[in-house]
Subunit: 150 residues, 2 copies
Amino acid sequence: MAKLTATNASEQPFIPLMQELAGAFQAFSLYDAEGLRKSGSSLTPSQARVIFTLGGTDGMTCKDIGDLTLITKGTLTGVVDRLEEKGLVERWSVEGDGRKTIVALTRRGVRVYQKEFPRHIEFLKEKFDRLGAGDRKKAVELLQKIKGLF
Amino acid sequence: MAKLTATNASEQPFIPLMQELAGAFQAFSLYDAEGLRKSGSSLTPSQARVIFTLGGTDGMTCKDIGDLTLITKGTLTGVVDRLEEKGLVERWSVEGDGRKTIVALTRRGVRVYQKEFPRHIEFLKEKFDRLGAGDRKKAVELLQKIKGLF
DNA sequence: ATAATTAGGTACTGATAAGAACATATTGAT
DNA sequence: ATCAATATGTTCTTATCAGTACCTAATTAT
């Protein structure tokens, strides 16, 4: 296999896949953000991911929140800071392990979760339901494979 | 169809698809950024997308660059600013249409493109080639469908 | 031809984004 | 028991990111 050059590198067959992955995620992200903006919840996409992840739990560590929301820990600190300022979450340290911090929804946070989570899922469902069950299953399977490549 | 509640909304079958889409894109993005970092090119992912898009052309308008790289115009101004500071691109206005600005690679920019583009494609190819041609084609097809939902 | 609209770029804002350096706490190996 | 290695969060830096407002130029409608 010859070495790639600037001219022939763009002919690699995986490039369209890379572009479509970015394009699909971008289209989804814009729609996702639009729904949150129009709901009047004043939640950013990252803030909503945290609220929706904490909903129905008694609180989780930052590490667990990060693993589920894919927000890196350095970023998560700021996101939780702003949710705390809004009075939607509270933090406390755990006694058994002094390194860990528990983040949990406040009563206000629970109310926001109960109102915004179903509303936002409904908003997304409107689009996603136009994809058939077969395509959906196959897409999940392939996206898992793609994730596993890296 | 009954209205969604906070408790049953999470059972919507499209949620795993949403998660896998984000997960796959995230995994790719991290690998992509890692390759650029380790190459010593000191290009950020956005900067590299612009350089790689301009490569082999005589320059393009900001609008066209934005359409191809999926970078919104407000962001693109800053990205091009930093590439200009590094001496990799230059800007000039077009005479036929006073609104447009052409961005093109400088000689240094061309050298960076010729060196980094094949190198980076090779870096990505190593992972993407582990996906079979059938899966790749099907994934492109499904991702186009997903993009089209929104 | 003039006014209203659209198009292309820039400036600005608030909020991520990832990584690196740091501080502290826990765990593991010896 | 002690010391190195690991784990968890925060802080800091630089760069995106999307949106909005704004500016100028071009296009369209009347």
